[in-house]
Structure formats: structure tokens, C-alpha cells
């Protein structure tokens, strides 16, 4: 098998929370022992409730934040040890599309400069060449040529998200991290942007890491899904497998909670009781046991290690008892 494009191993991110000067700070474990691989051309989705550490992973992959422990390898190289020059190269290859198209574009800049900025900083293209490139990019993402000299506030949400996409594409990256790229958009616009992302992927064979809480969107776009809960991974599998044969009780509850579009088929669902426990004082053993329907004494002592389900190396699950009540 080919080397994965991105390898994440035992990733930890802890934030100290100061209580007072003389007390030892509490630790918020935003990510706790997260491991996964992303192969080239694959779309991996990370799903989970808010506060489960999805976006923290994105930040660490982009090196906006440094991890507390663990390794992120890009094309076999640990990104923590990159030299300045290598880091520059790395940042060209890894780009992000943000959730909120209102706050992620500089309101004082024109569209042309926003999309052209990465080119200006990272290449030695002439002004003319940059303008030509930007116009090509705008055409690619479906923005009209006359938009070149306009400001972000003159656009609707969907068009702004297209500007964000064009900016991410400017340096022809290999890996694009999409942090909730469509959740701020209206339904009719959502499908336009999703179509754009899918089209671009089939044209340039990008690798996406797609972060979302919308299961419907995730199911449509991804190859593989990683489910997270309170900073830990609980299950990972291919989309087909996860949708048909979810193993972990949390994954099943999460899928169950998604409202069904068919009013004639009101589904009988298992409602999750309670809410996400605090990440500062998480429960011992299995983190999910406080809300789990099948929780038992033994759950207090387990380590949530990701183990293959039925010997399938591609379907990993963190619940050792999942097979019993399935």
C-alpha cells in the first residue's frame, strides 16, 4: 500500500486552564490520543458534537497551533521538525476553507487581492501573471470576471464561500482542510458549494479533510468517516460501513438523532440522554459511559483503544463491548 499523505499518531492537545496563581492549572484535553491516516485523493470526514475537538485537529494540521504530544507526518515527514523553508513549502500544500465566509475575508480588500495574496507571498509571479491566475481561479469556482474589483460585503454568503475556495486553491495545494464549509449557508446554496467542492476534487484530485456536524452532507461527500467524542476517536470506517453497520453506541445514537426527511416514516429513535460532560473533568474509563444506554461497571475501567471490528483493519471501534448488544 502506498504511503498515506498525512499520518496522525497519538495526537494530544491540552490547554491549561488557570484557576489561580498558586494552584496547579486544570487541563482541558481538547484532543486525547487521536490517530488516523489520510491517503492521497481521499475525502475523510471528521464528525462529532461541538466541543469534541474537530477544529483543534484542523488547527494542528495547519500548524496554527502546536500539539502537546504526538506526531503529524506529511508525506512521511514530521511537520514539527520542518525547517523554515520546508514549512513554507508545507503551507503551500495544505490549505483551509473556513466555516464563516463573513469573518474569514478581509472586508477592506478587493476580491482580486484576497485571492491573489497567497500567490503574491509564495511565488515570484509578475503582477500581470497573478491577475491572470486569479481570473482563472474565479472562473473555476464560478465567480464572474467583473467581481474582480468588488469588496466582500457586496456578495452573498454562497459567493463569499466561493471566494474562500478560490483563495484556498490558488497555490494548487494537495490537502485542503474544510472546516464546516457549508454550515453557514442556506439550503439552496449549500448544494451549489458542495457540487463545486466535488467537481474540483474530481478535476484536481485533492485530498480533503472535511469537518462537519451535518451527517447528511458528510454521507454524501466522504470516503471515510472518523467519529469523535470529547477529544477521543470512537469509531472510524468507510461511509458505507458506518451508515449500515455502525458499531459504537455513540455513533449509532448520533446517526439516530438526525431528523428524517420523510414525514410518513417517523422513526423510532434512541434519544441520547443528557449532554456532553465537561472536558476538564471527563468521566473515568470510557468517556461516553455517562450517556450510554448500555453502560456497565466494566466501562469505568476501559481505555477506549481503537480495535478492529471483526478483524477488519479499516473499521476501528473504541468500545470493547459493542459486539454484545449489537
Amino acid at each position: 500500500m502506498a504511503e498515506p499523505l498525512l499520518t496522525v499518531r497519538n495526537l494530544h492537545k491540552h490547554y491549561p486552564i488557570k484557576k489561580s496563581l498558586f494552584q496547579r492549572p486544570d487541563v482541558l484535553k481538547a484532543n486525547n490520543d487521536v490517530s488516523f491516516d489520510v491517503s492521497e485523493g481521499e475525502i475523510l470526514s471528521i464528525v462529532g458534537e461541538s466541543g469534541c475537538g474537530k477544529s483543534t485537529i484542523a488547527k494542528m494540521i495547519l500548524k496554527i497551533e502546536d500539539q502537546t504530544g504526538g506526531v503529524i507526518k506529511y508525506e512521511g515527514k514530521d511537520i514539527a521538525t520542518l525547517s523554515r523553508k520546508e514549512l513554507r513549502e508545507y503551507r503551500k500544500n495544505v490549505q483551509i476553507i473556513f466555516q464563516d465566509p463573513y469573518s474569514s475575508l478581509n472586508p477592506r480588500w478587493k476580491v482580486g487581492s484576497i485571492i491573489g495574496e497567497p500567490l503574491l507571498l509564495n511565488t515570484d509571479f509578475s503582477r500581470k501573471k497573478i491577475e491572470k491566475k486569479v481570473r482563472d481561479l474565479m472562473d473555476k469556482v464560478g465567480l464572474l470576471p467583473e467581481f474582480y474589483d468588488r469588496y466582500p460585503h457586496q456578495f452573498s454568503g454562497g459567493q463569499r464561500q466561493r471566494i474562500g475556495v478560490a483563495r484556498a486553491l490558488a497555490l494548487q495545494p494537495k490537502l485542503i482542510v474544510c472546516d464546516e464549509p457549508v454550515s453557514a449557508l442556506d439550503v439552496s446554496i449549500q448544494s451549489q458549494v458542495l457540487n463545486l467542492l466535488i467537481d474540483l476534487q474530481s478535476e484536481f484530485s485533492f485530498t480533503y479533510i472535511f469537518i462537519s456536524h451535518d451527517i447528511g452532507v458528510v454521507e454524501h461527500i466522504s470516503d471515510r468517516i472518523l467519529v469523535m467524542y470529547l477529544g477521543k476517536t470512537v469509531e472510524t470506517a468507510s461511509v458505507e460501513q458506518l451508515m449500515e453497520d455502525a458499531y459504537h453506541p455513540y455513533t449509532r445514537a448520533l446517526l439516530d438523532a438526525v431528523p428524517e426527511i420523510d414525514p410518513e416514516r417517523k422513526k423510532k429513535r434512541i434519544l441520547l440522554q443528557g449532554e456532553l460532560p465537561s472536558a476538564v473533568k471527563p468521566p473515568s474509563g470510557c468517556l461516553f459511559r455517562t450517556r450510554c444506554l448500555y453502560a456497565k461497571e466494566a466501562c469505568k475501567g476501559i481505555s477506549m483503544e481503537m480495535k478492529p471490528v471483526n478483524g477488519d483493519q479499516k473499521h476501528l471501534c473504541a468500545c470493547p463491548f459493542a459486539g454484545e448488544f449489537k
Partner: protein, 323 residues
């Protein structure tokens, strides 16, 4: 009928001219039923609900229409009379619980405030009622929670408190403006179930405003789809989802990823273009620039809401059979 809205029009006078945020909207809600108003941002859903509560602010103005609530036209009520209606007969829950609850006061204060205003209760009875309100929305250890401030609670919990405040006086109509949009799916499922339970137990009518069609199919008895300030389709929930007749509704439903099951990564259906600005609406049917079936007549004349099948109203020349 508990409430009947007839030809409601709300206009905003701005520098750019008159903006017709709501332009001739009519609907009814019977006792104990839920009507969902669906539409994209800026289609006038929220303005409609504000008009019902008499809360349309300058430069907005209700310029036409009637809102008959429980036998009287509340648009003719004075401010003093409206204050008696708000919170007691009609109450509202908002999308963002953190900004709608007052951060400076405890939950206790905020629940009792509405009870004091509308019901003449002794201290003990008041307290019992407040506890009862929290129990009703399934908040664990209500005695303890009463003394807490909103910021101590999670999003789902705050939304429950807001529902408790809204339901404390047992209103006949509950207006819910995107109540679950800010919540996670698991918490959303809890809150939706809670609202359905309250509807059943108390026979409350709900006006549910949302943009999420999946939530609509879970909650609604009747659905009204809005576009640029008008209702374009109105029907009971099952026939709307089974047979959407307006091209806009049809497009919305088809663009959902869940409607494309089994065809992963295939192109999703999408409605071309974007919602026009209310200050520059196209002539004729406001949907024609995005409509795949548009003909000459659509660009000139505005289709009216007509009954196409029993109980199923559509405003489109195509379903009418003109084109």
C-alpha cells in the same frame, strides 16, 4: 382556528425605497397543531412572527392585513393590551438562548418575572410554579438550577430554560424561531421531542420557523414555504413532502444530500443563482430567474396562491396549467 393571519403585509421604509419584507401572507393554525414556516434567510419568516407579537420596529410597519387571534384582531390592540397578550397567550422562543436570556439575572428571576406579570400568585405558589415549569422541560434538580445564571448552563439547557419561561403561563400559541439551529443534532432531537410532548400535553399551537426541511418533516402538521416575502406553497406536511408542486419547494427538497442516497459524490441538484435582494425584486414571479420552467408569462405577471388539490395551495403558473 386559534389564529388566522390574513393578507399580512409588513413594509420597511429605507433609503433604497420601500422594502416589502412580508407581502400578503395568509395562514391559519388550529388548536394543538404545528405550522412550519420554511424559507431561506431574508424571506420574511421572522418578520411575520414579529408582526404577530406586535413587535415590528421602526422603520418597519404593518401596512395591511388582519391577525385574528382567539376571536379578535390583535393588530388593533393598544400597546397596553398587547402586553397582556405577550407571554400569556402568545410567547416566543428564539434561536440563540444566550442572547435572549438576561445574563445578569438568575433563572429563578426570569421565570418568576413572566408569572408575576400575568398571574396574581402568592410567593409560595409562585415558587411552586417556577419549579413546575423547569420540571416540565425535564431539567434535572430544578431547585438547584433555579438559583443559577444562564452562563453556567450548556446550550441545550439554556434552550430548555427559555422554553420553560415561554411555557410558564401556558400560552395558547408558541412561536419558535429557529429554536434548534444553534444546537447539536443529539440535543436538537431532545428539544424537538420536548416540544412535541408539550404540544400534546397542553394542546398548545406552535408556529415553528426554520430553514431545515428535515426538522419540518419531524415537527409539522402543516407547512408554508416562503420566498421573498410571500407564501409560494402551503399544504399539510405529508402531501408537501410527497408531492411538492412549486418549483422552489421541489428544488429545495431535491438539493438535500439525504435525497441523493445511494448516489454518493454524484452532483447534487441545485437551484441556480441566489435569492434576489428585496430591494431589487424581479418583475412578475420573483422566482423566475432561478426557475427551470420559467416562461414569458412568469416574467410579467405574478402568480397568485391557488388551491391545486384539496388543501394544497401553490402560487405558480405551471401547476395552474397556464404554461
Amino acid at each position: 382556528m386559534l389564529i388566522e393571519v390574513k393578507d399580512l403585509a409588513v413594509h420597511f421604509r429605507t433609503d433604497k425605497g420601500v422594502i416589502k419584507a412580508v407581502d400578503g401572507v395568509s395562514f391559519q393554525i388550529p388548536h394543538g397543531k404545528t405550522l412550519c414556516l420554511v424559507g431561506e434567510s431574508g424571506c420574511g419568516k421572522s418578520v411575520t412572527s414579529m408582526a404577530i407579537l406586535g413587535l415590528v420596529d421602526h422603520p418597519g410597519e404593518v401596512v395591511a392585513g388582519e391577525i385574528e387571534f382567539d376571536g379578535r384582531n390583535i393588530l388593533e390592540c393598544t400597546e397596553k393590551e398587547m402586553r397582556k397578550v405577550r407571554g400569556a397567550d402568545i410567547s416566543m422562543i428564539f434561536q440563540d438562548a444566550m442572547t435572549s436570556l438576561n445574563p445578569c439575572f438568575t433563572v429563578d428571576f426570569q421565570i418568576k418575572e413572566v408569572l408575576k406579570l400575568h398571574q396574581n400568585l402568592k410567593k409560595k405558589a409562585l415558587h411552586a410554579k417556577a419549579i413546575e415549569a423547569l420540571e416540565m422541560v425535564a431539567i434535572p434538580s430544578p431547585e438547584k438550577r433555579l438559583k443559577e445564571y444562564p452562563f453556567k448552563m450548556s446550550g441545550g439547557m439554556r434552550q430548555r430554560v427559555m422554553i420553560a419561561v415561554a411555557m410558564a403561563c401556558q400560552p395558547k400559541l408558541l412561536i419558535a424561531d429557529e429554536p434548534t439551529t444553534a444546537l447539536d443534532v443529539t440535543i436538537q432531537a431532545q428539544v424537538l421531542e420536548l416540544m412535541n410532548q408539550l404540544k400534546k400535553d397542553r394542546n398548545t399551537s406552535i408556529l415553528f420557523i426554520t430553514h431545515d426541511l428535515a426538522v419540518v418533516s419531524e415537527m409539522a402538521d402543516h407547512v408554508a414555504v416562503m420566498y421573498t416575502g410571500r407564501i409560494v406553497e402551503k399544504a399539510d406536511c405529508i402531501s408537501l413532502f410527497r408531492k411538492p408542486m412549486h418549483p422552489y419547494t421541489e428544488g429545495l427538497l431535491r438539493s438535500l444530500p439525504s435525497e441523493n442516497k445511494g448516489r454518493r459524490k454524484s452532483k447534487l441538484h441545485s437551484i441556480e443563482g441566489s435569492v434576489p435582494s428585496l430591494s431589487a425584486l424581479p418583475q412578475g414571479c420573483t422566482f423566475w430567474p432561478r426557475c427551470p420552467y420559467a416562461e414569458e408569462i412568469c416574467k410579467k405577471e405574478q402568480p397568485l396562491l391557488k388551491e391545486c388539490e384539496s388543501g394544497h395551495f401553490v402560487a405558480c403558473f405551471k401547476t395552474e396549467g397556464v404554461i
